[in-house]
């Protein structure tokens, strides 16, 4: 455990060095660069290691048990996570519930929930999307009706990432059906073991179960689980989208995928195939230029500036580049392109379909790329609707 607590006082290089050394010394080698999302059973030990180190919540203020990192240090921390290939732990408590409670929660809520996130006792999942409310999230219909000191919740959530590993869920629910759609929504916390909640894993086309559907039938939730004022949930939730908006547009996935492509190509001796090289060159430069654009936005964050709507373009170009790389990977695999998992090619194993599968939802979740383009058209280009 490190004695230093004022991380911001360190110079960038020393800080980076400390983070890197810790990851190298403590993160399990076999979990580096995981191909699919890790389950709680796999990542739990690392979660607790980070917690013990005091590094679980780098962005939280120190008084709540966080590292209190300023933006430039936070960026370094995340860069090192990516460089070392550290897997993503269930982080909804860390990145969403924590900051949200710190901003909007009551003292009781903070005192009760925050320590349990740090300890790993509570694992959170997010209940926003519904079957009929995807791109149009504000049309959500899961309803919470106040009955005495309890809300009675009925409805369905979907695309709930790793709900099967969670102990708690935070939700947007409709508490006023008569109001304009954004104005009748509240933010509610819930123990997933509350009677009336059913979680059903959704198998994706690769055969994995990263998401769940959650069904709510007359689920009774204490009124005290409301965060902020009633019918103000939309505003509360929107305010959270700060750093998240840039991390979804990062170059990590593309860089990882193009490294796989480079390995395959160099193994197959494709440097001398001008056709492959032309296709590869386009994507390589897309990755590099996307990373350059990402750096431009990161510099903005580092300088403490607020990000505008233009940050949406990072997600659009980043995820589409990722998809194109995954397509070229399959194409490069030739007749073997339809084989799953690790596939032997001229004496070495490669896995192209996992990249292809992982790249698919990237343009759908976190606001589909169509929605991002709508935002850019109206808010950045000022085009009329």
């Amino acid at each position: 455990m490190s004695a230093v607590t004022d991380w911001n006082a360190l110079d960038d290089d020393s800080f980076r060095q400390q983070v890197r050394s810790f990851f190298r010394a403590n993160y399990p080698e076999e979990l580096r660069y995981p191909k699919t999302r890790l389950r709680w059973a796999q990542i739990r030990d690392w979660y607790l290691t980070l917690s013990k180190q005091g590094w679980l919540t780098p962005a939280w203020p120190t008084r709540y048990g966080g590292m209190g990192l300023e933006p430039s240090k936070l960026i370094i921390f995340y860069e090192e996570i990516e460089l070392h290939g550290v897997g993503r732990a269930p982080d909804m408590g860390i990145t969403m519930v924590g900051p949200l409670l710190i901003q909007n929660g009551s003292e009781e809520q903070k005192d009760y929930y925050l320590p349990k996130i740090l300890s790993g006792e509570h694992i959170w999942c997010q209940g926003y999307s519904e079957p009929n409310s995807g791109s149009d999230l504000a049309s959500l219909r899961t309803e919470a009706v106040l009955d005495g000191d309890e809300f009675v919740v009925n409805g369905q959530k979907t695309w709930t990432t790793l709900a099967q590993d969670a102990t708690h869920i935070f939700m947007l629910v409709r508490t006023d059906k008569s109001a304009k759609k954004q104005e009748g929504i509240s933010f509610l916390l819930m123990d997933v073991t509350t009677p009336g909640i059913e979680r059903r894993p959704i198998r994706n086309l690769a055969g994995h179960e990263e998401f769940c559907e959650c069904f709510f039938r007359d689920v009774r939730v204490p009124k005290a689980n409301l965060v902020g004022e009633i019918n103000r949930g939309w505003t509360i939730a929107k305010a959270l989208l700060g750093f998240e908006r840039i991390s979804i547009g990062g170059p990590k996935q593309s860089q990882y995928a193009i490294a796989r492509l480079e390995e395959l190509a160099s193994h197959l001796g494709l440097e001398s195939d001008a056709g492959f090289m032309d296709a590869y060159a386009r994507l390589k430069l897309d990755v590099l230029d996307h990373a350059a654009l990402y750096t431009r936005f990161i510099d903005q964050v580092r300088r403490g500036e607020k990000l505008g709507s233009d940050v949406s373009m990072l997600k659009v170009i980043g995820t589409e580049t990722y998809q194109k790389i995954s397509q070229l990977l399959i194409e490069t695999a030739g007749s073997a392109g339809g084989l799953v998992d690790d596939v032997e090619m001229a004496g070495e194993d490669f896995d192209w379909l996992t990249s292809y599968y992982n790249a698919r939802p990237a343009t759908i979740y976190g606001g589909s790329n169509e929605i991002q383009r709508n935002i850019l058209a109206s808010q950045v280009l000022g085009l009329p609707s």
């Binding site: 791109s135 086309l205 030739g334 379909l353 790329n369 383009r373």
Partner: protein
């Protein structure tokens, strides 16, 4: 028969065949069945293959004297379209087009005729083993080597991408010898025949077949010319393109329907112009594919093309169908949003089948290259 029927007669026959194929497919080949067979060993139902044979579909292309119907590729395409559209994992193209096409080009004889008769009645399910481990596509350079040894032959080598693998009753090992292309017929499960399954995206598998100095009796040896061997492969490539067209048409239609019914922001999402234009681009790709395939099928059925012209048609068809199907798969998933990438929704079954069928016998990129290798750019091609 192809020669004598008039165009109108043939088109009537095609319509009748299409009706009966559609009726059979919708009655007997459910998507639920296809879903259930994923990952099974074998990943298809031999009884269903026998049923298809009972319909006459495994012998469609075979001459009548060998138990077949002597029909053309237009007829075969109609049947393959229906079967592929219902995602039936039964290896119709590998058996009834590829293996049958190779066998019927071998010299007549007891062994050959028995195999072909077995294909026609569904009792024989052969897998042709010819591609090497990196997926080479040159029929003149098959995966095995064969030498005469005493009365029989000795075969060595390893082939990959063999369909069917598990579930096959026989393997046809395509081998180089001093004299040309040899075909060694080996029963599945024979001693010395090593089979490893490689799983595909759609829950089917391809086999790796290895043998090392395997002895094959003289009467299990067939031979054919490299040109005939190539011709049979081109036919399978073309019919594989027909399968891909069936898949892309269904993915596109599902998407078209979804765009009309899925409501967001108070409107069907199909009213959003950006999606409309992308949906139109898929429609155009489908129509290009259909036009290209029909032209190729007509040329194959007319029978007047040179070997290179046939290969060119096959490559054009496969290049277009595979590219268009992969494109349609991506756009279909995107326009469906989250549900489009779930296992539960049927689209994913089509996507995964596309991922498996598009690379088989060479992907779009490989076939574009083959096309221009056969038809290099040159000055003065017009005027």
């Amino acid at each position: 028969m192809l020669d004598t029927a008039t165009e109108a007669e043939r088109s009537d026959q095609l319509r009748l065949l299409a009706d009966s194929a559609t009726a059979f497919a919708s009655g007997r080949l459910s998507l639920a069945r296809a879903r259930k067979l994923r990952g099974e060993k074998p990943e298809f139902d031999p009884a269903m293959l026998a049923e298809l044979a009972g319909q006459g579909w495994t012998g469609l292309l075979l001459p009548e004297e060998l138990g077949g119907f002597g029909l053309g590729f237009a007829e075969a395409a109609v049947v393959i379209d229906s079967v592929a559209g219902q995602l039936a994992p039964e290896p119709l193209v590998p058996v009834a087009v590829l293996a049958a096409g190779v066998l019927r080009r071998c010299a007549a004889g007891e062994r050959r005729d028995a195999l072909l008769g077995g294909i026609a009645d569904g009792s024989v399910i052969p897998g042709l083993a010819w591609q090497n481990a990196t997926g080479g596509l040159d029929p003149a350079d098959p995966a095995f080597t064969a030498t005469v040894q005493g009365e029989g032959w000795s075969v060595s080598g390893q082939a990959r991408f063999v369909r069917p693998g598990s579930g096959a009753t026989h393997f046809l090992l395509a081998a180089r010898s001093d004299k040309g292309i040899e075909l060694l017929v080996v029963e599945a499960g024979s001693d010395g025949l090593k089979l490893v399954s490689e799983a595909q995206a759609d829950g089917t598998s391809l086999a790796r077949i290895s043998v090392e100095g395997l002895r094959v009796a003289a009467d299990a040896h067939l031979s054919l010319s490299a040109a005939d061997f190539a011709a049979a492969i081109d036919e399978a490539v073309l019919m594989n393109a027909v399968e891909l067209l069936a898949l892309l048409r269904r993915m596109r239609t599902m998407t078209q329907d979804y765009l009309k019914t899925r409501v967001q922001f108070g409107k069907p999402i199909g009213s959003f112009q950006a999606l409309q234009h992308r949906a139109v681009d898929l429609l155009i790709q489908e129509e290009l594919t259909a036009a290209c395939l029909n032209q190729a099928i007509a040329a194959f059925d007319a029978g007047s093309c040179s070997v290179d012209e046939r290969s060119s048609y096959a490559s054009r068809a496969k290049a277009r169908a595979a590219e268009a199907a992969m494109w349609t798969a991506r756009e279909a998933m995107q326009m469906h949003g989250g549900i489009g990438v779930t296992d539960e929704y049927e689209l994913s079954l089509y996507v995964n089948r596309t991922l498996a069928l598009a690379p088989w016998l060479g992907n779009a990129s490989a076939h574009r290259r083959r096309y221009v290798r056969l038809n290099p750019p040159k000055a003065g091609s017009d005027a």
